[in-house]
């Protein structure tokens, strides 16, 4: 033990947790965070103005005006877009979780010939950029007459290499012993998986499910390609179209556009507030893959 080590040890007994940063760091970060949040806050503010207030130097903010929200939702089929997005994101999240949980279970805990090769085939999909799949998948969907259907929006995403990989890493950390009692009772793989492994992995499963839901809510280029009717558009495509139409028409009702944008930001924000902890753990683990 060198002198420095001893001194460090001495210091640490005095102060249990050595601080990594000085307190003023937080103080510096506060104004930065406020500045960073300005675009979102300003969008909410503008969405509550009258269009005539935009030009005025002293906008008449109070009382806030929710007409823009009503206009966005009544003049454009946002209710339908929301419904579609929820169906699609929900189906993809549930479906891809089921396929990934089952695959991850085998990759983590079952001996099967060829298992490692199959696992590598699943992991390799993480390196494939989405864009390479777009034309062929579009042709597949068009070939089966599935354009403008939920099938087209959902089917391609019912498996996730990332989810299977992440869950496998997690399932591997569960000790073998926990299965023994159930095995003695004669439980098969199906029961082992759903009554023991899955309940023990709730945080990991929640992390992945939230992650998938949010990325699907954000999905843009695929729904843009396979849908061209208002009946089937998702919120992202719907908002992009509303924005493009307003610009082309030279109307530029910005408060109404902002109201539409804000409504679409609400669901991811709510999910984020309730699941930030899970989400961050999922992303950090993805970052260390």
């Amino acid at each position: 033990m060198t002198l420095i080590d001893l001194r460090v040890a001495a210091r640490q007994t005095v102060r249990e947790r050595p601080r990594l940063s000085i307190p003023w760091a937080t103080v510096v970060a506060i104004p930065l965070a406020v500045l960073f949040a300005v675009p979102m806050l300003y969008a909410v503010y503008v969405s509550l103005l009258d269009q005539s207030d935009l030009m005025s130097a002293t906008p008449d903010f109070w009382p806030p005006n929710i007409d823009n929200y009503l206009t966005a939702w009544s003049e454009h089929p946002f209710a339908r877009y929301f419904f579609n997005s929820i169906i699609v994101c929900g189906a993809i999240t549930i479906g891809s979780m089921i396929t990934s949980i089952m695959a991850a279970y085998v990759f983590a805990r079952v001996d099967m010939p060829g298992r490692n090769i199959l696992f590598m085939a699943v992991v390799a999909t993480l390196m494939v950029p989405t864009h390479i799949t777009l034309v062929p998948n579009y042709l597949t969907m068009a070939g089966f007459g599935l354009r403008n259907t939920y099938w087209a929006l959902i089917l391609p995403f019912l498996a996730s290499g990332f989810a299977a990989f992440f869950l496998r890493q997690h399932f591997k950390t569960i000790p073998k012993e926990v299965e023994e009692a159930a095995k003695l009772d004669g439980a098969g793989h199906w029961r082992l998986l759903w009554t023991i492994i899955v309940p023990m992995s709730r945080p990991a499963i929640a992390a992945i499910a939230v992650f998938i839901f949010l990325s699907e809510w954000n999905s843009y280029i695929w729904p843009l390609i396979v849908t061209d009717t208002d009946d089937m558009r998702t919120v992202e495509i719907g908002l992009a179209r509303l924005f493009a139409e307003e610009q082309e028409g030279g109307i530029n009702n910005w408060p109404m556009i902002m109201a539409a944008a804000v409504t679409i930001l609400i669901p991811p924000t709510i999910v984020f507030f309730f699941a930030e902890r899970y989400l961050v753990s999922g992303i950090t683990m993805g970052g260390n893959r």
Binding site: R11, A25, M40, R115, L118, L139, L155, T269, G287
Partner: protein, 290 residues
């Protein structure tokens, strides 16, 4: 027999979906890239490497590559530098820091289209907050999204704003993995904060930094949504990034052969980057397959 059948049935749904919607498309994209595909007559003619040769000689493609490279250079270093700075500020586990991290992280999980729309408004020439602020400070307003000299940088700025939180979270995880005793020892030896950063933080953070560098280059090379909503690739194709170039070829001009050549080239390039990450840059691939 049953020992194999049941596990095989477990992996079957996952593998079937990946086979149909990822593996088959890769194969089919290669096939299409070697053909001249005419959708109207339903004719497909084998043309060998012609699509790739045409692409290599196409000024429009060169411009797209240059635009995308500019976009990457304009956004990635800024993203990483700001994220590292914020990570340093917010690394300690305090309740206040957790809230502040949330503020910076929120745009990353928010709707990209909504963000693109909100920023289009901020960049608005006549009424946007950015020009109003510049005007109030005595500067001259810009035509941001309608000026071929500024549009790409405006989109890059939004990309930095949106992605920053992801980089920050990864950096924080990397910083927290560094043993506090190292800093403690350095402090006792009288090392300045800057010196500590150079001799302890940076070297130990190198793997994280390299990982983020590769990830952010890969995703910046594939930027599309922001461009498609904010500028549609304009004005005068000044924001026609590679994926937008591909999108126009495939879904506007319906030239599937050339479009596939573009994504194959992009794929091989990104694959090269990924291999560089796992190989040359010394990140161990440890999937521990036992």
């Amino acid at each position: 027999m049953k020992r194999v059948v049941v596990p095989a049935l477990f992996v079957l749904p996952c593998l079937t979906v990946l086979a149909i919607f990822i593996y088959w498309p890769i194969f089919y994209s290669f096939y299409l890239s070697l053909h001249d595909v005419n959708l109207l007559s339903g004719r497909q003619r084998f043309v060998g490497a012609e699509n790739f040769v045409d692409l290599a000689l196409d000024d429009g493609f060169h411009r797209s590559v240059a635009i995308t490279a500019t976009f990457v250079i304009a956004s990635v270093p800024l993203r990483l530098a700001l994220a590292l700075f914020l990570a340093q500020l917010l690394v300690a586990e305090r309740p206040a820091n957790r809230v502040l991290r949330g503020v910076f992280f929120l745009p990353y999980v928010s709707s990209t289209v909504a963000i693109a729309v909100v920023w289009s408004w901020l960049f608005n020439t006549d009424l946007g907050l950015i020009n109003l602020t510049i005007g109030a400070l005595g500067g001259s307003p810009q035509n941001w999204l309608y000026d071929a000299d500024t549009a790409l940088y405006a989109v890059a700025a939004v990309n930095v704003w949106k992605q920053l939180g992801y980089d920050m979270v990864i950096f924080i995880a990397g910083l927290q993995a560094i043993s506090p005793t190292l800093y403690e020892a350095a402090r006792i030896d009288g090392a300045s904060r800057l010196h500590q950063f150079r001799t302890i933080t940076l070297p130990l953070l190198t793997p994280t930094l390299l990982f983020l560098l590769v990830i952010s280059v890969i995703d910046s090379f594939q930027v599309f949504t922001l461009v498609n909503v904010m500028t549609h690739g304009g004005p005068a194709l000044s924001t026609d990034v590679i994926v937008n170039f591909f999108y126009r070829l495939a879904f506007v001009r319906l030239d599937y052969g050339s479009a596939s050549a573009v994504v194959i080239a992009l794929f091989l390039f990104l694959l090269g980057l990924t291999i560089l990450q796992f190989g040359v840059l010394g990140r161990k691939v440890s999937y521990d397959l036992d």
